[in-house]
Symmetry: C2
Subunit: 345 residues, 2 copies
DNA sequence: TTGTAAGCGTTATCAA
DNA sequence: TTGATAACGCTTACAA
């Protein structure tokens, strides 16, 4: 009847070895103060003679606490998601939570499956960056959920103040004496954050009584598609269209801004005086471009830290009740930071 | 005496609801074939009425299997580590293993602590990219370990054939009619992989009876330090030193190659005819540089896939014995791929 | 300060 | 095809 032992050293083994009960061994780890100095030493020795290794799985089951947070991100190649993921993982020493990361959730059904799986691991909270599942559904998961830069009606969230980012970009270009204001966007980026950026930009430009133009490039998973499309736009819609005017180009992502910059550099050997460029995101690449790129930076460290505070807070309060249910979600909005480098004065 | 219930729906609840025993419920999930068609339907209904959610923690404890692999990477900002991490996480749909990722292991003691923690979660295997802990120690962990691009005497590993990469770089520059061969390295990169690259390059250049020069730039965590240092080297050691010669610069990382390229572009408005540049790694940035960068590419997808095959293989065989012990580690060496873009002909 | 025993939610063995 | 029952390794009342 006795099932085959797994071969690992357990509290029972230590108990036998030392003559204590396994309760005392447990106490040694969880309430060392309640074990006498002397006995603590005895146990310590036993631990290393037996080469004991803590078993968190058993502990998780017994305590109903895993110290694991689930993370769902849309994809792996986007620099913003990577940065967020990396910063989150980096909070381990600060908060002690580990992350179970699942990515590639372009499909709604797959994302649902991922969530189910994470839930099965009894994650204590979920951080979600993808947008396929509505927040109404996420709110019913029974654990705290914090979204980052996504639709957030029924869940807590942190986002960048995209509207303010657009305003900042417009002001900088205005200070650079631009005459023509060009918004370079991709059709796929018609989600909420991009919309706010454009609105802030356009409203501000209109306030300055300056003309603006929308230009859309094509995009798919291939980088080359974007390059071809943007270069075509530069050639046909920009260079020829505004003679004698100083053009301020607001690119909704750093990667597209860099393509624009590279094109101009290859064509003219420099950034011509009648062009000013500003990107969005402050990706690592923006700093490393031929000419360090001016950009509206998301304050990612703050985004991440805020997300963790909110989530941990909700985890803490949720301990008091059984199943967590979101009463009033909190929405933190982080201001962007204008980073003026060399593609503007 | 009864401890407060956690509030979650268990097999017992489903058993009560349906009139079966919890054994049958377990069988429904694990050996559906052994439960009668009719009863399966009954259970299925109960599952959704009760809104059951699988508990992997309990399952892990009972089965002694977690489906989790540990991953330790040195840091979060290096693009190579990011890529590997992302590709590994992306294997989830293929292999069903989740990853617990810990990073920032510059310190040996912290890395040891991380390993202990991962072991506590009863990870089934470990993939390790950092180099602070010797493989002799890793081999004694009791679980399969696969290293990627690191010292690997006593553990299995996958690495790029760095020597061949150096050879490929030298040949390409030779085909580009270079007269002077310059190796641009950073002193911190004196680990094994970089050494192989340099050796392969130098031996090949010597075979061509061409002169070569070593140049080292400074580096710390600040990007600006690298830029300043490289620009100083360009100005003082390269531009002035080889008049009339065509210089082939082999940069041991793409990021330094891009700094060189940007400097030349900003100085001359183009890549002058008497310069040829080749980097190493094929990072995303290399493709997106002003002039798409020629580089020796690590075949990261293959590295990752090979690492997983080896690890899963060892996990499989280790099931047969209790504690895993490495008899004969396997060392896979993946050839690099020369990617000739626009900084060479 | 320590021990007993029940419990966490599964799986596995054995017998029916 | 099903059910009792003992694991898995730890925590936690409660009693001593």
């Amino acid at each position: 009847m006795a099932r085959e032992r797994t071969g690992e050293v357990t509290f029972q083994d230590i108990a036998n070895f030392t003559g204590f009960s396994k309760t005392t061994i447990s106490r040694y780890f969880n309430h060392p103060g309640t074990v006498s100095e002397e006995n603590r030493k005895t146990i310590e020795k036993a631990l290393s003679s037996l080469n004991y290794s803590e078993n968190r799985v058993a502990k998780m089951l017994a305590k109903g606490k895993t110290d694991i947070i689930g993370l769902i991100i849309p994809n792996l190649y986007n620099g913003f998601y990577q940065t967020i993921q990396d910063l989150l993982i980096g909070t381990y020493d600060k908060y002690g939570y580990k992350f179970l990361v699942l990515s590639g959730s372009d499909s709604e059904s797959r994302e649902r499956r991922y969530i189910r799986e994470l839930l099965a691991y009894r994650i204590e909270g979920l951080i979600i960056l993808s947008h396929t599942i509505p927040s109404s559904e996420l709110a019913g998961l029974g654990i705290p959920v914090v979204g980052i830069e996504r639709e957030d009606r029924y869940i807590s969230s942190v986002s960048t103040d995209n509207h303010m980012g657009g305003v900042q970009a417009a002001k900088l270009l205005y200070e650079n004496d631009c005459d023509e204001y060009i918004i370079l966007n991709s059709p796929t980026a018609t989600d909420v954050p991009a919309f706010g950026r454009v609105m802030g930009f356009v409203e501000t430009v209109q306030g300055f009584k300056k003309p603006h133009t929308f230009l859309e490039y094509e995009m798919d998973s291939e980088y080359e598609t974007m390059v071809d499309s943007i270069e075509k736009i530069m050639k046909n819609k920009i260079i020829s269209s505004f003679p004698g005017k100083r053009k301020g180009i607001f690119c909704l992502s750093d990667s597209s801004a860099i393509v624009v910059l590279n094109y101009l550099f290859r064509t003219y050997g420099c950034l011509p005086e009648d062009y000013r460029i500003i990107g969005f995101d402050n990706t690592p690449a923006s700093k490393e471009a031929v000419l360090p790129l001016s950009t509206v930076g998301q304050q990612v460290e703050i985004l991440v830290d805020t997300a963790m505070s909110i989530l941990l807070d909700e985890i803490r309060t949720s301990k008091e009740y059984g199943r967590f249910s979101q009463k009033d979600p909190v929405h933190a909005v982080i201001p962007p930071r204008l980073i003026s480098r060399e593609t503007t004065d």
